[in-house]
């Protein structure tokens, strides 16, 4: 590293029309989140440039690179804050925040690229680190600098320098990463007592249980194995640390889904059932999908690739995948969520021979944003988690040029312990490549050269896979966290898609959990072996040991196999796109996962053992119906007032101020946007895109999630999630005969142990959820083509343990033949007639209303009948009919009726259309007034029809449960039950309440 370090500081100019927006955003955020008001916050962006370029030269061209001369002023070599001219008054506090050494500094990387452009002589070892200083003026005297600093930075990845009582404003210094010395692999002796094996697993963050540890030990006792190892000069009778780490990653819950693959002894106290389930995944998810695959011709690739692929038309196939990034998001909400979204983008890029990501979905579960209760140590308040996660997904999605077209935010106290961050991506690929190969089939051969493409490997992201298989504690490692770099990834996506179309790729997968160990390890299965040379892997910092290089989850990397004769073309394409691409391995057919560091063999594992050696878990499951206090609604309720309260509930309120910050329209394809209606602020049910420019052929993407139903029955929770996702898709006119699903389970620890005394019950919840998933998906003829599970969503242990409610996110993607004929939730015109499809029953258990009245102290419990899907096959025909009516252009108004029931759904439709409605809920189902107004019975969709089209509509809907609700009028929403007035509400008032509840922007000035 060069000794010459030059400091450049830049701050916005002052004057007419000029504004320090960065500083002002911090000022507003302090007001919104903490009610602390400063008169002014100013910002300074700093660069520490380590290069061969002298300070004078940098100073002379500072406006060519670091400062925008029109709007900014700069200082080279000294602190701008000390300059009387620019800062005549000294701030009360100054906080300077920079990254810790080794943490991805994206502005620094970009600045370095720019430095090389302006100063070609900057030197190979040049480096730039960046920081930002906030200067605070005119605030309350009792606010301390250290307090402010804590609110503004995350000490896990950033460092902060705080001014000393308004006098000294010290600068941050360039900080070098400590040099690490490469140490050769060590040998781990497994011939030790059982307790010590467990201790070894725990202290090494291996997350392996005793049986797994002894299985590994026994592998090294095999004389044949020992002989083979001797031949390649690797320690014959014990694993190297490389091997043990590699096995721990590959066998982690995260990678091998051991709970879903377990043999479960399931007992049901309610029914007396006592049975053995041999793998939940195979029994309830895989089997039904494979059976459906035999009946249709459009399921191209399910389960075995990075995402499931279906054919969309003769030319194109589409694929989709959703992932979670919960643990990293708890530690660093911004970085964790960003790597979540760019990570799932890579799953799409790694599908088949490479698909192009064209749409994202984001579903988050958080603690209540206004939480003022206690927080366990090391946890961020929910509002901060929300801000960070949102920013991470925003930056990751927007900078990648992938629209976020659908999503949700769910709130519950228990997500304080672990937020859930689901990120999904839809991809598209030509069915045939120019060279005639089908794009969804990988075509690797032994002798193919394996490239690592994209970023370099660093110490960041070591142990991500094993770490997410453990509960979160105060000592969780910071190395598990990374910050993504969407631009490095975007360059890689551009390059790889070009390489695909040029026929240069035979096999591709992403580097996610487990790093190279997993990516090359998985691909090596195709040819039956590989040989990796870790010494060739480009590193962010020297000295990483072999096992670290092998398992590091550093971001923005794909693993791509190329035929030897295509390597030159592949490398020149990488050069053009300025993308790193290094050959690091070769496919073989030796049956061995063979890892070298230079000449030395550091791991030598049979592929069979690596992938299929993990012993099946044997688990106990026991269902006992939980006892929950009954929800008894109050006798004399003011339903009008209740509606306003409900509209302000975080689970119901508009998320518009958050969602608007996502680009949902890039690629010029988004037909139904997240917000619809006259003022473009009514809720959109599903995302609808027409991705081929000039062609109205569409794809629908929708989500369903209802975690609180798990309080009563996780089976009902799963059924509700699926039904909600399907209904949302139906509202956009999906072809229900051509849709597929993704199941993403997030569960608390379900293995009975000292830490988890109720493990049997939690596992029984999982069994019930899976059984309902199978039943409903079979009835809907809805194949699950891809899924994921995250099984350790708990914080802490013992009394302080917080477990999330068992949560299934269900995503639907499917065909929409013509986007010109679709529907949105907003009421369209006065005189429109409103109908509700489906019956409204007495199903108020775990409803949003029950939770609200319970929290308000107006009711004791939330128990009772939870919404059930008793005859899903009937729902399907109902949905088919409605979808047909929408696709024929007859119906333009449809909205699913879920959280908050009919009252909330109608209110949302009124807001979207800025129109009122006269509604009579008499005769729409068997529920009481509460049940019909607020109950969340499944299978219901509210529909608007123009009077002159009613006849045609009736013809299509004949035989389905269709109830007249009322009609659209000019101003107010009025709901009656026969002769009883229930609700009278003014639309603008409802809109204001609904829109303001979650607006945490602090306005615009």
């Amino acid at each position: 590293m060069a000794d010459n370090i030059v400091r450049v500081e830049v701050t916005p100019r002052r004057g007419e029309g000029m504004r320090d927006v960065r500083g002002d955003s911090i000022r507003r955020q302090l007001v919104t989140d903490y009610s602390i008001e400063f008169n002014e916050v100013r910002s300074i962006v700093g660069f520490l440039i380590s290069s061969e370029v002298p300070g004078q030269e940098i100073s002379s061209r500072v406006d060519d690179l670091f400062a925008d001369p029109i709007i900014e002023i700069s200082k080279t070599g000294e602190s701008i804050l000390a300059d009387q001219q620019y800062f005549p008054d000294k701030p009360e506090h100054s906080i300077t925040i920079g990254f810790k050494p080794g943490v991805t500094d994206n502005p620094g990387k970009a600045a370095l690229d720019g430095l090389h452009m302006v100063f070609p002589e900057a030197g190979m070892n040049a480096d730039i680190s960046t920081y930002i200083t906030y200067a605070f003026f005119g605030g309350p005297s009792d606010v301390e600098g250290t307090w402010l600093a804590n609110k503004l930075h995350n000490s896990l990845i950033e460092r902060a320098i705080v001014s000393n009582s308004g006098k000294d404003h010290p600068s941050i210094d360039y900080s070098l990463l400590e040099e690490v010395q490469y140490s050769p692999p060590s040998i781990i002796n497994l011939e030790i007592p059982d307790e010590e094996l467990i201790e070894l697993s725990d202290s090494g963050l291996l997350a392996l249980n005793l049986e797994e540890m002894t299985t590994i030990r026994d592998h090294y006792r095999d004389p044949e194995i020992r002989m083979a190892r001797e031949k390649v000069s690797i320690n014959p009778d014990s694993p190297t640390d490389v091997e043990l780490e590699c096995l721990a990653q590959t066998w982690s819950e995260h990678c091998k889904h051991k709970i879903f693959a377990a043999k479960i002894h399931h007992v049901d106290d309610e029914t007396g059932e006592d049975c053995i389930i041999d793998s939940l995944f195979k029994t309830y998810i895989m089997k039904p999908t494979l059976q459906m695959q035999e009946e249709v011709d459009w399921l191209l690739s399910v389960f075995h690739d990075n995402s499931g692929v279906i054919s969309w038309d003769d030319e194109w196939s589409i694929c989709m995948k959703a992932e979670t990034h919960n643990s990293p998001s708890a530690l660093d909400p911004f970085g964790g969520a960003m790597t979540g979204i760019v990570g799932v983008n890579r799953d799409i890029l790694g599908t088949g021979l490479g698909a192009r990501p064209i749409a994202n979905t984001d579903v988050f579960c958080f603690g209540p944003p206004d939480w003022d209760g206690d927080l366990p140590e090391n946890l961020f308040p929910p509002a901060r988690v929300l801000r960070g996660v949102h920013a991470g997904v925003r930056v990751g999605g927007n900078e990648s040029g992938i629209p976020t077209i659908n999503g949700a935010m769910v709130f519950d106290d228990r997500y304080i312990g672990k937020p859930l961050v689901y990120c999904g991506t839809l991809g598209i690929m030509p069915r045939l490549l120019p060279d005639g190969r089908e794009s969804h089939i990988k075509t690797p051969n032994a002798e193919d050269i394996v490239y690592m493409v994209g970023g370099k490997v660093g110490a960041d992201g070591i142990h991500g896979a094993t770490f997410s298989s453990l509960e979160l504690t105060e000592n969780s490692p910071s190395s598990a966290v990374q910050i993504g770099d969407p631009i490095t990834q975007k360059k890689m996506v551009d390059m790889i898609l070009e390489a695909r179309d040029s026929g240069l790729i035979t096999c591709i997968t992403d580097n996610g959990a487990g790093g190279l160990s997993s990516s090359i390890g998985e691909m090596a299965e195709y040819t039956g072996g590989c040989k990796i040379d870790l010494a060739k892997v480009p590193l962010k910092q020297s000295g990483l040991s072999a096992w670290e290089i092998l398992v590091s989850e550093s971001q923005e990397r794909m693993t791509v196999a190329v035929k030897p004769e295509d390597c030159a073309a592949f490398e020149s394409l990488a050069d053009l796109h300025e993308v790193e691409a290094t050959p690091v391995a070769i496919f073989t057919n030796t049956g061995i996962f063979h890892v070298c560091y230079g000449e030395d063999t550091v791991a030598y594992l049979p592929i069979e053992f690596l992938h299929y050696g993990v012993p099946q878990l044997q688990l106990e499951s026991r269902w006992t119906k939980p006892e929950i206090k009954q929800f008894i609604p109050p006798q004399n309720a003011n339903h009008s007032e209740m509606l306003l309260q409900m509209l302000a509930r975080p689970n119901i309120a508009s998320k518009e101020t958050w969602v608007r910050q996502y680009d949902h329209e890039v690629i010029a394809q988004t037909v139904i946007k997240p917000f619809v209606g006259v003022e473009r602020d009514g809720p959109g049910d599903a995302g609808l895109i027409a991705p081929i420019h000039g062609n109205p052929h569409g794809i629908v993407v929708s989500c369903g999630i209802q975690p609180r139903y798990s309080d009563i029955d996780a089976g009902a929770m799963a059924a509700a999630a699926i039904d909600e996702a399907v209904r949302n898709a139906v509202c956009a006119g999906v072809d229900v005969n051509l849709m597929a699903g993704l199941d993403n389970f997030c569960w608390p620890d379900s293995i009975e142990s000292e830490k988890t005394p109720d493990g049997k019950f939690k596992l029984a919840q999982l069994v019930r959820a899976n059984r309902e998933l199978e039943r409903v998906c079979r009835a809907y003829r809805l194949p699950c083509v891809s899924g994921k599970d995250s099984m350790k969503n708990d914080y802490g242990s013992g009394e302080k343990k917080i477990s999330i409610p068992p949560t299934l996110l269900f995503t639907v993607f499917g065909d929409q033949p013509d986007v010109r004929y679709t529907a949105t939730s907003d009421l369209k015109h006065v005189g429109e007639r409103l109908y509700i499809l489906g019956d409204s029953k007495e199903e108020l258990g775990a409803s949003e209303l029950a939770f609200m009245l319970n929290e308000n102290g107006q009711s004791e419990g939330i128990g009772g009948e939870v919404p059930r899907l008793n005859h899903p096959e009937k729902n399907l025909t109902r949905y088919q009919a409605l979808s047909e009516a929408i696709r024929s252009g007859l119906i333009r108004t449809a909205h699913d009726c879920s959280e908050g029931g009919l009252a909330v759904a109608i209110a949302e439709m009124c807001i979207g259309g800025r129109l009122g409605a006269l509604i009579d809920i008499d005769g729409i189902g068997s529920g009481s007034i509460y049940g019909r107004l607020w109950g969340e019975s499944l299978g219901r969709i509210i529909i608007g029809v123009s009077p002159h089209q009613e006849e045609q509509f009736f013809d299509i809907m004949e035989g389905h449960e269709l109830h007249l609700l009322g009609l659209v009028v000019e101003n107010n929403l009025s709901i009656v039950d026969g002769i009883d007035d229930l609700i009278d509400g003014e639309i603008e008032e409802m809109a204001t309440v609904w829109k303001e509840a979650l607006d945490m922007t602090g306005g615009v000035s």
Partner: protein, 284 residues
């Protein structure tokens, strides 16, 4: 055949749809990695139109458009100069607009020679709100603008999707000059105002003006009218099915003499691209 070069690489991300727009109006567009022009593999002079699409080149670090702008300023200077000298149209949309402003191609010299001097005279910076937002705006076009891209277009509804769209020129005399030259081609206007009378020099409130731009400027052209840049995305309303009101039946219908491949489903944005292609057909 009118050939269009659509730049991509380094985080540009609207290249596919921008290329598709020119194809839809009868030109042939080619997505070209910027480096292929810099290294001479492809010669810019083979093309009649250059488009710099939207995106997040270099992550907007060091200011939106700055680093890609430098690549063009230092790596493509001569080719760009020759392109402009040949009277060929250039458009920059969103990040592309930011790039053209930071390279100095927009607004360009306000007096004397119209040839580019690559001096930055204006900037696009962080929205007053401090937020990146995707929202629909109403635009009104200066009917006297020399801009060849916007001929005959009075109003348009389309989305903005940016965090740095606030147009700034520190000296109001400079803005006066641009205004006198009719270079302030397109502005944010109140959708309830009457077409033709919406343009205002006073900054309109959020969200009518989504970013607090001086004089509500959404896009400008150079003095020749050939180089045009704007923050909003006309390509995002190439078809009426992309309009947020299309299920309400009130997505604006385009009245055009031209036959459209989209029939009466053509959206308001496509005409911008057609104008440039027609201009090339008639003048080059």
């Amino acid at each position: 055949m009118v050939k269009v070069a659509v730049l991509f690489g380094f985080g540009i991300n609207c290249d596919h749809e921008t290329a598709a727009m020119f194809d839809l109006v009868g030109a042939t567009a080619q997505r070209i990695h910027t480096n292929k022009l810099v290294n001479g593999e492809i010669d810019l002079s083979e093309f009649q139109i250059l488009a710099v699409p939207g995106g997040f080149s270099f992550g907007d670090h060091l200011g939106s458009g700055r680093l890609l702008g430098n690549r063009l300023r230092f790596g493509l200077r001569d080719q760009l100069q020759a392109f402009v000298a040949a009277g060929k149209p250039i458009i920059g949309i969103c990040n592309g607009f930011q790039v053209l402003v930071k390279t100095g191609l927009l607004p360009g010299p306000t007096a004397g020679d119209t040839q580019p001097d690559f001096i930055q005279r204006a900037s696009l910076t962080l929205n007053d709100s401090g937020r990146y937002e995707d929202r629909w705006v109403t635009l009104e076009f200066d009917q006297n603008s020399p801009c060849i891209w916007t001929k005959g277009i009075e109003r348009m509804q389309c989305p903005v999707r940016h965090g740095e769209g606030k147009f700034i020129m520190p000296e109001s005399v400079d803005l006066d000059t641009l205004q006198e030259n009719n270079q302030l081609t397109v502005r944010y206007v109140d959708p309830t105002s009457e077409t033709g009378s919406g343009i205002s020099d006073d900054v309109l409130p959020f969200p009518i003006s989504p970013n607090g731009s001086m004089r509500n400027i959404a896009g400008i052209c150079d003095r020749t009218g050939l180089v045009f840049g704007l923050m909003p995305h006309p390509e995002a309303i190439y078809a009426r099915w992309l309009h947020p009101s299309h299920t309400r039946g009130d997505a604006p219908v385009v009245e055009s003499d031209e036959e459209s491949v989209l029939g009466d489903w053509e959206g308001e944005g496509l005409q911008i691209f057609r104008n440039a292609v027609e201009y090339v057909r008639n003048n080059l």
